[in-house]
Symmetry: C2
Subunit: 251 residues, 2 copies
DNA sequence: CGCGATTTTGATCAATGTCAAAGGTGGTGG
DNA sequence: CCACCACCTTTGACATTGATCAAAATCGCG
């Protein structure tokens, strides 16, 4: 098994060939006006697995598009516990927050080697003002991430540990393999450690390990060498306990 | 004690006198162009405590500004457990989501009697297109809510139950009483039941009750009759265990 | 081959949930 | 004005989940 997630990626390329141009803030300008973005961006950058793109509490003079690789956004408490807020995949737009000049409200760490496209932070409001579609796209991106954060919150706050792991893996599969990837019995590469899963779900690595063993013994899935095999999608979805609307019980 | 939160509010009034016009999407148009919003809105509405503004999984043909009262957004799992995602206060803009025509990804329930200002959903993109500042404001609102959701997630995922309750109350005080309300020993009206707190934090009402008793016995705060007294702000903040940035231990 | 990071397992313990029942409290209708 | 009712809070006894601590086993990599 080659560790694909560490392949050294991407000589800087033009926006026209950008693999994620349709996924991020640039989307409204692809085509005719892509050169606007091309002139705006500061350049590309490649960061090794384990490094930070930016850190909680520090200033940051840039904004980032993830071109390739996996990123975790997170916060750390005084008690030392770390919470992973989201897994950012290629196409994610990182670093925008309500006050662009405030210290960052969270950190972003590379899970794999990562390639990013860098925007200058101070000029971004001008770009959005000159191209209102960018603002609209930004609102769209933000609301999409907000919904995912809400679902993550529900997962961590309301599900037991086993369901929580199941749900997390299902959502990740959907994002990586597309919404229909549950038709078959998917095999998916997830460059996560069990510690990442634990940090994302508010569990300990030890307990996550036991839960994965349980899922393996019940022939639902296996997760080894960063590869997830799903043997029994139906059972997995059932364990994951999806949300429903239930009206309060009548009299 | 009068239950202020049930005072019958607000004959519909014009946008010019709107108490929250500076807080929500309308902000860029206050002043000269406020009439744009005035013409756009469908009207006002008053809902009783306990009713839903909209429900998870159902369609919704409107968007809402909270004018007065408290609202909880939430999801419910098949297992019956309910997760409160956020407490929406006056000025909140509810119902916007990435696909405006999709079923709602969460529900919104009135904690108190609530007055809302209603926008037609289908025409909103046009409004944003004609007034790009609206799109920018929307992005700003969304990112602010996103940050709050992230902090909520960290709270639920990474803090022990006592810290979790402490942190939740602190944040709520900041929102209601302003960021400086911890200089003194605040007394704040929170129209929440212990069940609401439990649902927001992924705990049970019984355990929340015990934790509040503990905080009372340690003379940190008391929460009774929907009134929160904070006796010892410093200790409360310490218990709340705020996030920090800590670099990994060096070699 | 050896080292650091990760996974795996066992034994034990603390934090939190569950169940059940008893007090408040305010609102409503007689 | 009283009595009742629904809902909320409070408390106790007990069950369970998931954390903690410690130590092997495994793996990727230099």
């Amino acid at each position: 098994v080659t560790n694909w997630f560490k392949r050294s990626p991407l000589v800087p390329i033009g926006c026209r060939q950008c693999p994620i141009k349709e996924l991020t803030v640039c989307r409204p300008l692809v085509g005719e006006r892509i050169s606007v973005v091309q002139r705006f961006k500061s350049g590309d950058r490649i960061l090794p697995a384990g490094s930070d793109i930016f850190r909680f509490g520090e200033g940051c003079s840039e904004l980032f598009n993830v071109l390739d690789g996996w990123v975790a956004t997170y916060q750390v408490l005084a008690s030392g516990r770390r919470q992973i807020l989201d897994i950012a995949l290629p196409g994610a737009f990182l670093g925008y927050q309500p006050d662009l000049h405030a210290p960052m409200s969270y950190g972003a760490e590379c899970i794999t080697d990562v390639a990013i496209c860098v925007f200058p932070r101070h000029a971004f409001p001008d770009l959005a003002e000159m191209h209102p579609e960018i603002a609209m796209q930004l609102a769209w991106l933000n609301s999409r991430d907000y919904v995912r954060a809400q679902e993550h919150l529900t997962n961590v706050g309301s599900r037991g540990a086993l369901s929580r792991v199941a749900h997390f893996l299902v959502e990740l599969c959907r994002r990586v393999g597309g919404p229909d990837c549950f038709g078959a019995r998917p095999t998916i590469e997830l460059p996560l450690t069990q510690q990442h899963i634990a940090d994302a779900l508010g569990l300990t690595n030890v307990y996550v390990n036991r839960l994965l063993r349980q899922l393996r013994e019940e022939e639902v899935l296996s997760f080894k060498d960063r590869t997830l095999h799903i043997f029994d999608p139906a059972k997995l979805l059932e364990i994951a306990d999806y949300e429903t609307y239930e009206t309060r019980d009548g009299p």
